[in-house]
């Protein structure tokens, strides 16, 4: 059974009230949604809130899923809309000024606890993710979403264009512009290795 067929089976079972099928469906996508939340919000609390809102939206609208698109695309459309709503309410992860080397980590502590107690490979993970979050924070939300959906979720520009209610060419331009901006910022800061 392919992944898509498995998704459809789980959806059907969840709609019939199967708690097991529902939890399996959630576990299949929760990591991607949670990490999407981390990249868009910059902190675990908001990322968890976003994830819960996304799955609540999925649950409420599961009966409307017709199977004419991939379930993942449908789910990330909900994730996109929830992120837009949350940004409207909370102004997620706006960076007012260029961070200096002293305050580079300020405001984007995605790992609770003392980082000095973490093993080295974990510290490297933390640093890499922090840099990516800081870079993404420099983008306006619509560009951030395009980068997230294209690079991290591998959606097509057609799917992204539908979500953002723009043309496919505009979605491509938005992605190109965002990538150029990230490149320029990274070069200025010598951030990315």
């Amino acid at each position: 059974m392919s992944l898509i067929e498995e998704d459809e089976a789980l959806i059907a079972a969840a709609l019939n009230g199967s708690a097991y099928a529902w939890e399996k469906l959630v576990k299949r996508f929760e990591s991607r949604v949670y990490n999407l939340g981390l990249r868009l919000t910059g902190n675990p609390t908001d990322a968890l809130d976003l994830m819960q809102e996304v799955f609540l939206g999925v649950y409420r609208n599961l009966h409307r899923f017709r199977g004419d698109a991939k379930f993942s695309s449908w789910l990330f459309r909900i994730a996109h809309n929830k992120a837009v709503d949350m940004n409207r309410r909370k102004r997620l992860m706006t960076v007012q000024s260029r961070p200096t080397s002293e305050d580079e980590d300020e405001g984007f502590d995605i790992f609770p606890g003392d980082a000095r107690e973490e093993p080295e490979h974990k510290l490297n993970e933390i640093e890499t993710n922090q840099r990516i979050i800081q870079l993404l924070a420099k983008l306006p939300m619509e560009q951030r979403l395009v980068v997230e959906l294209k690079i991290f979720q591998s959606l097509t520009f057609g799917e992204i264009a539908l979500m953002q209610e723009i043309s496919e060419n505009t979605a491509k331009t938005r992605f190109y512009t965002a990538l150029k901006k990230l490149k320029d910022i990274a070069e200025d800061q010598h951030v990315l290795s």
């Binding site: 990591s31 994830m51 799955f55 609540l56």
Partner: protein
């Protein structure tokens, strides 16, 4: 950036949905065009660096179906309408009905009545009452205007009279003063004239005396010879 194709080509290349033929064409151009190549490489590196994101484990959370069913019910209850929430809607509908259906409410000596649609007889009585009220209001307004005008007129007359009296009084006083002045001048002139006359008379008298003395001397001289 001097190559005019750079932006368009790189957008298409990064879009990752090219046909094999289109991709070959672009890659051929990238080999030949230093501008496009130098523009593309850093973008690809940026993309690769972003993909270096390290997936984080999801913290513990309640993913059970019961939770979502409960959330769904809570949301449905929150969206459900209580009796109180119907009131504003009912009020809005009533107002809309009044506007659209031309509902009229009449409280007269016959009692309280609500009518829907165009009721000419009811409206005629109402129109007559309104006309009478308007006529009465016009009359009262006219009377008020007249009284105000009269008051203004009497105020003006009183003011004018007072001014005239004051003016007359001032004029009389001026005349008296002028008369007194002239009188005083006349007396002074008379006095001057008297003094002058007296001096003239005295002068004449001295002349006469001198003439008399001369005559006396002349007659004495004549007698002596």
């Amino acid at each position: 950036m001097s190559c005019p194709k750079t932006e368009h080509l790189l957008q298409e290349y990064l879009a990752d949905d090219l046909t094999a033929v289109a991709r070959d064409e672009i890659e051929k151009h990238l080999l030949d065009c230093a501008d496009c190549h130098s523009e593309l490489e850093p973008l690809l590196m940026t993309q690769a660096s972003l993909r270096g994101w390290q997936e984080q484990r999801v913290p513990h959370w309640n993913r059970s179906l019961n939770l979502f069913q409960h959330e769904q019910r809570s949301a449905a209850n929150a969206r459900g309408w209580s009796a109180w929430q119907w009131l504003p809607t009912a009020a809005s509908c009533a107002m809309l009905a009044i506007l659209l259906l031309n509902v009229s409410v009449l409280n007269d000596e016959q009692g309280f009545s609500i009518s829907i649609g165009d009721r000419s007889e009811a409206n005629a009585g109402l129109d007559a009452a309104i006309s009478a009220l308007q006529t009465q209001q016009r009359a009262e307004l006219q009377e008020l205007v007249t009284r105000v005008e009269d008051r203004l007129d009497s105020n003006s007359v009183s003011l004018l009279r007072a001014v005239m009296e004051q003016t007359q009084q001032t004029t009389a006083e001026n005349f008296e003063q002028l008369y007194a002045y002239f009188e005083q001048q006349r007396l002074l002139d008379l006095q001057d004239m008297r003094v002058g006359y007296e001096e003239l008379v005295n002068s004449d008298y001295e002349t006469i005396r001198s003439l008399q003395q001369l005559a006396t001397f002349v007659s004495y001289e004549g007698n002596v010879r």
